[in-house]
């Protein structure tokens, strides 16, 4: 058995003394293999996570906005022209299935390595999620509501923007939440395509960082995903005030 694994497994039984025997007090925490997390190191170096976090944020925001813009237009087109639904579902499905990490490098002859390729690949990934949810949201609008709107003299365009889209908002936002949270996680892989982001604090220069750095970077990514989720829920609540009155 791997000696490191053994040491981890037995920590619980022998307690602190085990560490003291094996590791020198003079070694800094990050040089001690048996330490999973070094608070001192994390406190001292938290500043160096700022830039990668901002880069990560940029990757996610650009990717999701681009993906949303394209998928939203596709969904509106498919909503009007039924025959477009299946081919668009198939096409976005292929883009969704191709793993982002492969997509980065498929773009190599076109956009090379770096941020552009990462943003293109990540937005391609989000298309299907947003497209499906938007289309489902529009399809779920009750026919009676649309009839009533038409009876009141609204044009098709007015029905779309004033009746159908507001009523489809919960589903559209649900799609955006799934797309955004997944994109935050996948964007850690951008480092492999020289696209920056939190991945650089996990893997850089051909080597994995030590555990503390990986945990901090992963923790920031999870926090970022949760924050986006909370923000999107908030936006949905603001955009659909009638649902709040219905709930209370």
């Amino acid at each position: 058995m791997d000696s490191r694994l053994l040491s981890l497994a037995t920590v619980g039984e022998v307690g602190k003394s085990f560490f003291h025997e094996r590791t020198s007090e003079t070694l800094p925490c990050q040089a001690q293999e048996s330490k999973l997390f070094c608070f001192d190191w994390a406190k001292e170096n938290i500043g160096s996570f700022g830039m990668p976090t901002l880069q990560h944020l940029e990757l996610v925001v650009f990717s999701v906005l681009a993906g949303f813009a394209i998928a939203f237009v596709l969904a509106l087109l498919a909503h009007r022209r039924r025959w477009l639904r299946a081919p668009l579902l198939g096409a976005t499905g292929v883009l969704y299935t191709v793993p982002s990490i492969a997509f980065f490098f498929l773009l190599l002859p076109i956009t090379g390595l770096g941020r552009d390729s990462v943003i293109i690949a990540l937005s391609a990934y989000t298309l299907q999620i947003i497209y499906r949810n938007t289309l489902a949201g529009l399809a779920n609008v009750p026919a009676a509501v649309k009839d009533a709107a038409r009876g009141m003299g609204l044009t098709d365009r007015q029905i779309l923007w004033r009746v159908e889209l507001p009523l489809a908002t919960p589903e559209i936002v649900a799609g955006l939440r799934i797309a955004t949270v997944s994109t935050v996680a996948i964007a850690t892989l951008a480092v492999l395509a020289s696209g920056g982001g939190l991945g650089v604090k996990i893997y850089a220069g051909g080597n994995l960082h030590f555990a503390t750095s990986i945990i901090v970077a992963g923790g920031i990514a999870i926090l970022m995903a949760m924050s986006f989720d909370v923000i999107l829920v908030g936006i949905q609540r603001l955009a659909t005030p009638w649902r709040r009155t219905a709930e209370s």
């Binding site: 694994l5 492969a102 997509f103 892989l189 492999l192 850089a204 051909g206 990514a221 999870i222």
Partner: protein
């Protein structure tokens, strides 16, 4: 080191990548030993497929019974949904890297890490799929004297196949995609062409992208075919 020093625009061409897939190429760092070629491609593909299927099997064994049970009982909705949401937020690079740094390299650790990614979509979709089944056929089945197990396996599961399979397909895609970075934890998959780019060069990088994309698409289409085969004839008629 070398990876980060490469110029942003690599001289990668589709032709070079295809050549790399079928014929071993000379490399600047292996001392005359040729890299790439069909034999290595097949070997790495098999490892990636093995890793994917094993991790998927582990995820299925863990997630499916829990999801089906909770769905049938109709309890634990918050838990089942929360697991699905939390699963999406796991950064796969951090997960694999942490496994490698803490436990060391090894097939078994990568399998566990990948299974962790597969559990949330399977569990949540199993729960939602079973939960969404219309109450009327379940009541009818109970009235006909079916046991709870019979109701689950002969009524609820067949009706939940589309949602169930969507979860399994999602898990498979996530696992096979992440198996690409398994070389970081010492398991050589097709991602080796991507991660050890100083060995394989730009052609290897593009070839890796092409091969991983193809592998994922083949798996997705196979599972879609399996789903069609598993969907009962009655459901297909009503859907058409």
């Amino acid at each position: 080191m070398i990876g980060s020093l490469l110029p942003p625009f690599l001289p990668a061409s589709i032709g070079g990548a295809i050549e790399f897939i079928f014929e071993p190429q000379s490399s600047s760092v292996t001392g005359g030993k040729k890299v790439g070629g069909f034999e290595q491609v097949v070997e790495l593909t098999i490892t990636q497929l093995e890793l994917t299927l094993l991790a998927l099997a582990v995820a299925l064994v863990v997630a499916l019974p829990v999801g089906l049970y909770l769905g049938h009982r109709g309890t634990g909705e918050l838990l089942a949904i929360a697991i699905g949401n939390a699963g999406r937020a796991i950064p796969e690079l951090a997960l694999i890297a942490l496994m490698a740094v803490v436990f060391g390299v090894g097939f078994q650790y990568v399998t566990i890490a990948l299974a962790v990614l597969g559990i949330p979509p399977i569990l949540t979709n199993a729960f939602v799929g079973i939960r969404q089944v219309d109450r009327a056929p379940i009541d009818a089945a109970r009235g006909m004297g079916m046991t709870e197990a019979e109701i689950l396996f002969r009524v609820e599961m067949p009706l939940a196949i589309p949602t169930l399979m969507a979860g399994i397909r999602g898990a498979t895609i996530a696992i096979v995609a992440t198996a690409t970075i398994a070389p970081l934890a010492g398991v050589l998959t097709l991602g080796d062409f991507i991660i050890n780019r100083n060995v394989y060069g730009a052609s290897g990088l593009l070839a890796g992208g092409i091969l991983v994309a193809l592998l994922a698409l083949v798996l997705e289409f196979s599972l879609a075919a399996l789903q069609r085969a598993l969907t009962s004839k009655g459901l297909k008629v009503s859907a058409a």
